[in-house]
């Protein structure tokens, strides 16, 4: 049976698409699934670095579509999970190096061998984005609690729906509970209401993310990291588990502990 193909997109750059792809891919591999991650951001590749695989690249996605190598040759095995593979973007080419048709054929091939294919879309709404959504069965839209990011997410949702990806799911990244409580950050409910799509997960802002990108170790593997826990929960939701959304209201006991320095 063919695997499921997700595209992770956002419109706006810098909201956490690549981080999301790296963590969901690693999480699914940890659950024993066969996963292929595709970096569709040709010319600005980053997924390799976030996964810590930048030194292993020999061939890339353009080499595959130009038939300079076989598909298996370009797929890089993850250091931690052998069931996780990365198809890197080309760094010295641009988005026109791959056509939507070629992308579609590539994905048709890949999903035969994997349980999940997750495509990391570039920012923007141009050809790179159009390539990235070609062949996807489902879309995940990543946004942050800012006017510009939510606005772009809305536009992307409209474009996804026009391309037949009619039920995209939403991840709200870089959430700061303290600012929400103060009324200085839009509420989750407000954003979900405005965008009118299904909420897949909330990821808190977490300093550990910076550390994880420094080291090339996805945060989903770090115990006790809030963002890691959030990505782990999203991973399990993708697998059909019924995991409640992370409680945003920190309990009174937690607050007290933090106050006296126990936490």
């Amino acid at each position: 049976m063919d695997g499921k193909v997700y595209v992770v997109t956002s419109g706006k750059g810098g909201v956490g698409k690549t981080t999301t792809v790296a963590n969901l891919g690693t999480g699914l591999a940890k659950l024993g699934k066969k996963v292929a991650l595709i970096d569709a951001d040709i010319g600005l590749r980053n997924l390799d670095v976030v996964l810590g695989l930048e030194n292993r690249i020999v061939y890339d996605i353009v080499d595959v579509v130009e038939k300079k190598c076989r598909q298996e040759q370009a797929l890089i095995k993850d250091k931690r999970y052998s069931s996780l593979c990365l198809l890197p973007a080309a760094q010295t080419r641009d988005k026109t190096a791959v056509s939507p048709k070629q992308m579609g054929e590539l994905i048709t091939q890949l999903k035969k061998d994997f349980d999940y294919v997750i495509i990391d879309s570039p920012a923007g709404i141009e050809q790179g984005f159009k390539n990235a959504i070609e062949g996807a069965d489902e879309a995940i839209v990543v946004t942050t609690p800012e006017v510009a990011a939510v606005r772009d997410a809305d536009r992307i949702i409209g474009m996804l729906e026009a391309e037949g990806l009619s039920n995209p799911e939403l991840i709200i990244n870089r959430v700061r509970v303290d600012m929400m409580r103060r009324g200085d950050m839009m509420n989750i409910e407000d954003m979900v209401e405005i965008l009118a799509i299904q909420l897949l997960g909330i990821v808190p802002e977490d300093e550990n993310i910076v550390v994880s990108t420094n080291t090339g170790e996805p945060i989903v593997l770090t115990e006790d990291a809030q963002a890691g826990e959030a990505f782990w929960n999203i991973t399990r939701r993708l697998e059909g588990e019924d995991i409640p959304l992370i409680s945003l209201e920190e309990g009174v006991v937690d607050r007290l502990k933090r106050f006296v320095g126990l936490k």
Binding site: E146, V147, V150, R151, D154, R155, G158, D178, M180, R181, R182, G183, D184, M185, M186, N187, D190, I194, F259
Partner: protein
């Protein structure tokens, strides 16, 4: 702690999240309909001309915007009338 107390006492004050939500709501109404703010401005000018034929209105106090409620979009205009024109 100070933040917590601020949150308790300043409930009536406009919070920046409300401003964000309002600005987002308005910008999305235009984005989704493909109507630019300039079009609204042109429409406003023409509307002033038409209404001015019949009523004396406060042109500076005139407000016009697209508003979205639930699933419908409305053109909402608030036009302060100074007095009926003597004909």
């Amino acid at each position: 702690m100070i933040d917590l107390m601020k949150g308790m006492f300043n409930k009536d004050e406009l919070q920046s999240k409300d401003l964000a939500k309002e600005r987002l709501r308005l910008v999305l109404v235009h984005d989704r309909m493909g109507v630019s703010p300039e079009v609204i401005e042109d429409m406003k000018e023409e509307l002033i001309q038409v209404i001015s034929k019949y009523l004396e209105i406060d042109k500076d106090g005139l407000e016009m915007e697209l508003d979205r409620q639930e699933n419908s979009v409305a053109l909402v205009a608030n036009i302060p009338v100074k007095q009926l024109k003597k004909r």
